[in-house]
Subunit: 145 residues, 4 copies
């Protein structure tokens, strides 16, 4: 990433659902994957990179890599927020980092990382080169490496 790159990010508060808390009294570890997805949707809405738009352009963006690091448990009643940060890349990939933390104290609960590739919606073949719309999107937001 060169220094001229913008940092694109969204920070969004969210609520813990009762059903997301497990019998240990903490948010079950698998639910963080949903929080990450919520953050990607918020990112897409803010920066014009919605799933439906990309679908209309003929592309799917499956996750190929997921990493979650759990620092501290979240319990019901906490007020967390999630920050998603776009990581610029030359490749035809969508790379995001995540941080879930207390909205007030900023204490970090979980960090994460995902990598998505582009797939042709019809042939389900991997797309190795940046789709046109993505190339233009990178230029618009000045996140071309």
């Amino acid at each position: 990433m060169t220094e001229r790159n913008n940092i694109l990010s969204v920070t969004k508060p969210f609520e813990i659902r009762f059903s997301e808390v497990d019998s240990m009294g903490v948010v079950w570890h698998g639910h963080y994957v949903k929080y990450f997805e919520d953050a990607r949707e918020a990112f897409g809405a803010k920066y014009g990179l919605e799933y439906l738009m990309m679908y209309d352009k003929g592309f799917l963006e499956p996750i190929v890599d997921l990493t979650v690091k759990y620092k501290r448990p979240m319990v019901y009643g906490m007020k967390p927020e999630i920050e998603i940060v776009y990581r610029p890349t030359e490749a035809a990939k969508l790379i995001f980092d995540y941080e879930i933390r207390d909205a007030i104290t900023k204490e970090v609960f979980v960090t994460g990382h995902t990598v998505q590739v582009f797939m042709d919606r019809y042939s389900h073949q991997l797309v190795l080169n940046n789709p046109d719309f993505y190339e233009k999107w990178k230029q618009k937001w000045e996140v071309n490496v």
Copy 2:
């Protein structure tokens, strides 16, 4: 239902997942909907009424009615089983009753009921008459009312 009707049913033991237990230490009430769906799949497999087959015939079978009655909570480590029973009907509907109980003691935890209709897979229009394949299926299993 006339007396010549067969009773079509499947009974299937299943395991409670750790992630299905909520912070009260019992299976979260919403997860029973998945158990019902598992039972419908087992029923379809046993009696030749699989979702994929019906999809190939051009039909979807959305749930239009769901009822769940919770008698006793299930806790992690219990060994439950689910029984699904087909309820014969003249209508173009799939109607099932469910009972979830202890596999050994037969103590009942939950009972349920679902109604599904047929939808055209392409037009997404409701199908009011019994699809051909369903009519034949009813005859084969002698559950035509």
Copy 3:
């Protein structure tokens, strides 16, 4: 319900998660149970009837009855809202009705109904009489039948 009773309700817009849409392209029917729970939490927050408060008072409120009626499917990208309405009752029960609809057109997707009872947090015995705090709550909001 006598005519002097207040109508207690909350209406809350919500977002459909990508992961909640099934392979038919519509919200999987089981996810509505979570939307109902979200609505109960919003209701508790507005009217001072939070799970954590009741837990501190020594009570759990398990669902004993759930009904869902599916009118029209919701698809990804729609902007739904949920309304939850408290149904006054003499019994030691929490009874709610739900309506999920398009936030703009008010077209109804799903309606629902739940009944909760009170359980002693320690003995896990059913509580047949209105707990003190609930009696006072009914008086405060003038929903005593």
Copy 4:
């Protein structure tokens, strides 16, 4: 890992639930976290390392690290199996690798890795030394490094 270490593993076939398939027609990526948990439960049952036993001994085992690599999507109707392999470690940790593949062709869909630590059930403090029962367990199965 020294060469005298046993390889402890379980391979278990499983079914894809209809509700686990997303609108792209493939298993939603977050559901693999549940499959991993199922595999840990099967492992615990086979080798005497159940959550409930460890809970009775006074310990919780939260996940601190999760990695998932998605090679190929799974679609409804496939017959997958999951293999879980215990990775010996000197540390007071439970480390597992996972592979989800076609039960017949052995084509790999997903691989994964989790790390769990021990927490005192009462104080919720991290336990840095191997709990007694875990030390004995390692000796019994000859997986002490």
